[in-house]
């Protein structure tokens, strides 16, 4: 059984995925989680979640090149090049 481990570094911070442990039940998962993700004081708390209890969402339709919706969607490199060439040709 695989348990996904989420780790909180400091109180109030968001939990982030740290890795996983293989353990037959929660008792084993707790010990393995403590040893692998907490024994150096690097974690304030852990979330241990059986992998099968995670609801996975994937697969995205991106048929119409909607990247302009993202902040990194505007590539100005090509446009800059065109503008430079126009300026030079004058």
């Amino acid at each position: 059984m695989i348990w996904e481990v989420f780790r909180q570094e400091r109180k109030g911070q968001p939990f982030q995925h740290a890795g996983s442990v293989e353990a037959p039940d929660f008792r084993f998962a707790e010990i393995y989680g403590r040893e692998q993700y907490g024994r150096r004081g690097e974690s304030e708390a852990l979330w241990l979640v059986p992998r099968e209890h995670l609801s996975v969402v994937e697969g995205w339709a991106d048929e119409f090149d909607l990247k302009y919706r993202r902040v990194d969607g505007y590539s100005i490199k090509a446009r800059l090049k065109e503008a430079r060439e126009r300026a030079e040709s004058r």
């Binding site: 293989e22 353990a23 037959p24 008792r27 084993f28 010990i31 040893e35 692998q36 024994r39």
Partner: protein
């Protein structure tokens, strides 16, 4: 316990922790599961850390240092119980020894935590806070082994073999407490055997000592690390 001096008590515990830590570390890289490899290596480091703290306390009284106590004594001068010396590279026996030792250690630490000596009591309490996780680890394994017939058989075989050694970790009233606890936890009877007590050593300690002290012995006296 009263018959022993403070230094003797400290060295018994320190030597047990050092030698068991060494034995546990033999699983590093070859444990049957990756998770156990990490967990067992970590337990081994903890035990050796406990040994160092105990040696430091004893060393102050003896006018020496922790490294000298850990590495410069002859094998016969170590005060560890034969239980921790055994080289048992087989998982069921390793788990059985781990659980028997932790059970005995908890009884012994409870006495030390109640000591009038604030340094001994303080250090025992500090060690016990870490041992609590070792006990959780050992207990979960015992439950898991006892949950199946195969596991119970494997555990029983291991306990039968190790029981005389486990009895030798403690003596007097504390030994009786150990018998009671172990008996209460297992669904099968314990063998009627004589304890293999502290003060005698197995041949396996000699081999371990050779390896453990090799670097120290090959370095010039007074080398600084």
């Amino acid at each position: 316990m009263n018959a022993r001096s403070r230094v003797e008590v400290l060295l018994e515990l320190a030597d047990d922790e050092l030698i068991l830590g060494w034995r546990d570390s033999e699983w590093t890289g070859i444990a049957p599961l990756l998770e156990e490899d990490v967990a067992f290596s970590s337990i081994a480091q903890n035990e050796i850390g406990h040994a160092r703290a105990l040696y430091e306390l004893a060393a102050r009284e003896l006018g020496t240092d922790a490294d000298a106590l850990a590495f410069d004594r002859a094998p016969d001068e170590y005060r560890c119980a034969p239980l921790v010396e055994l080289r048992r590279l087989e998982w069921a026996r390793t788990i059985a020894r781990h659980w028997l030792y932790e059970t005995a250690d908890e009884i012994r630490l409870a006495v030390l935590k109640a000591s009038d000596d604030p340094e001994v009591a303080g250090l025992a309490a500090k060690i016990d806070r870490e041992e609590a996780y070792h006990r959780m680890h050992a207990e979960m394994w015992i439950d898991r082994l006892l949950a199946t017939e195969e596991g119970t058989t494997r555990l029983r075989e291991a306990i039968d073999e190790l029981w005389p050694y486990a009895l030798g970790v403690l003596d007097g009233e504390l030994r009786l407490q150990l018998v009671e606890r172990v008996r209460g936890r297992l669904p099968f009877d314990l063998p009627e055997v004589e304890p293999v007590t502290r003060g005698q050593h197995t041949e396996e300690l000699r081999e371990l000592w050779d390896e453990m002290t090799e670097v120290r012995r090959s370095a010039p006296t007074g080398a600084q690390w």
